[in-house]
């Protein structure tokens, strides 16, 4: 599989994503500078975490106008798999590829720690290697992860099983205390109605190999490979 990792000015998890796909999962990776306009030959696109454009104005607000984003939009519209991680998720929201917006964390703090998320929908291209209800431990690192959308959109996402990951306790209970940032309905990750675009605040690329002491994040990427019928 050819994975395209988009590199914005200020991206800082791009090489982690490259490492996981290339060295851990044995896939071919192309780093795509945000000024590029073609995704020819790319099978899946990753918008990595970081601080694109210094988070100026709003997180992701400027990156969404990068030249490459027109190609990403067309790619997503054609059904191509897109994953936005953390700042990548924020960019997908600003670009309108996923519904809703991010508010500052309820505590106003930058939160950098392991959290638990429950797989609410294991029948997606990004969670197919997980069990329904499986609890994953994945780190978050963000100041703006307090997901918000209007009640009508939330109800539609719930009805369509678009809420893929929710913050929970280690035992899998979705509680207010397990919510690190105040996110609506404990939302940690969502997909679009078509199911080919995923946005998530936790960083699976930071916990995808044994040497890091945690491989839970690998399941997200393995799910994608499974959906793309790639043998690992």
């Amino acid at each position: 599989m050819n994975v395209g990792v988009i590199v914005f000015p200020g991206s800082n998890c791009d090489h982690d994503c490259q490492h996981v796909f290339q060295d851990v999962l044995g896939q071919s990776v192309r780093m795509i500078w945000h000024k590029e306009t073609s995704l020819a030959g790319i099978d899946a696109v990753i918008l990595p975490g970081g601080f694109s454009y210094g988070d100026y104005l709003r997180t992701g607000a400027i990156a969404r106008f990068s030249p490459v984003m027109s190609a990403v939009k067309a790619f997503a519209k054609d059904g191509g798999a897109v994953i936005g991680i953390c700042n990548g998720f924020q960019i997908l929201l600003e670009a309108g590829l996923l519904p809703g917006a991010m508010l500052r964390n309820r505590s106003l703090h930058f939160i950098c720690k392991d959290v638990h998320v429950r797989v609410e929908n294991a029948a997606t291209a990004f969670t197919g290697a997980c069990q329904p209800g499986q609890v994953l431990k994945i780190p978050v690192a963000h100041a703006d992860g307090n997901y918000y959308t209007d009640p009508v959109t939330l109800a539609a996402m719930q009805a369509n099983a678009q809420i893929v990951l929710r913050y929970c306790t280690a035992e899998g209970a979705v509680t207010p205390d397990a919510n690190p940032n105040g996110s609506l309905d404990n939302i940690a990750g969502i997909i679009n109605p078509e199911g080919n675009v995923l946005g998530l605040m936790p960083h699976p690329e930071r916990c995808a190999e044994e040497i890091l002491g945690n491989r839970d994040g690998k399941l997200i990427f393995q799910s994608l490979l499974k959906a793309m019928k790639v043998n690992v």
């Binding site: 607000a61 600003e94 508010l103 964390n105 505590s107 106003l108 105040g182």
Partner: protein, 79 residues
């Protein structure tokens, strides 16, 4: 023509910064201070002499970039 633009979180959306400031004001003895909302203020010089045209442009700037209308509202004046 200069646009003076204010962007704030919509009413009804929790503003954690506003809340923190409200608590700080309260602890300073300003117990009658309520509903603190934090926002952004931007100034943009618009190279346009026709006020109606400038108004339409600034509105587009706000809708497309300066505010995220899912969570924010904006207002501006042209001087």
């Amino acid at each position: 023509m200069k646009a003076k633009i204010h962007v704030t979180l919509k009413q009804g959306i929790l503003d954690p910064q506003g809340k923190a400031i409200e608590h700080a004001l309260d602890s300073l003895g300003f117990t009658n201070a309520a509903n603190v909302r934090v926002g952004k203020y931007m100034e943009v010089d618009v190279q346009e002499t026709d006020k109606a045209k400038a108004d339409a442009q600034v509105k587009q700037m706000c809708e497309k970039l300066l505010a995220n209308t899912i969570i924010e509202e904006y207002r501006y004046e042209l001087v």
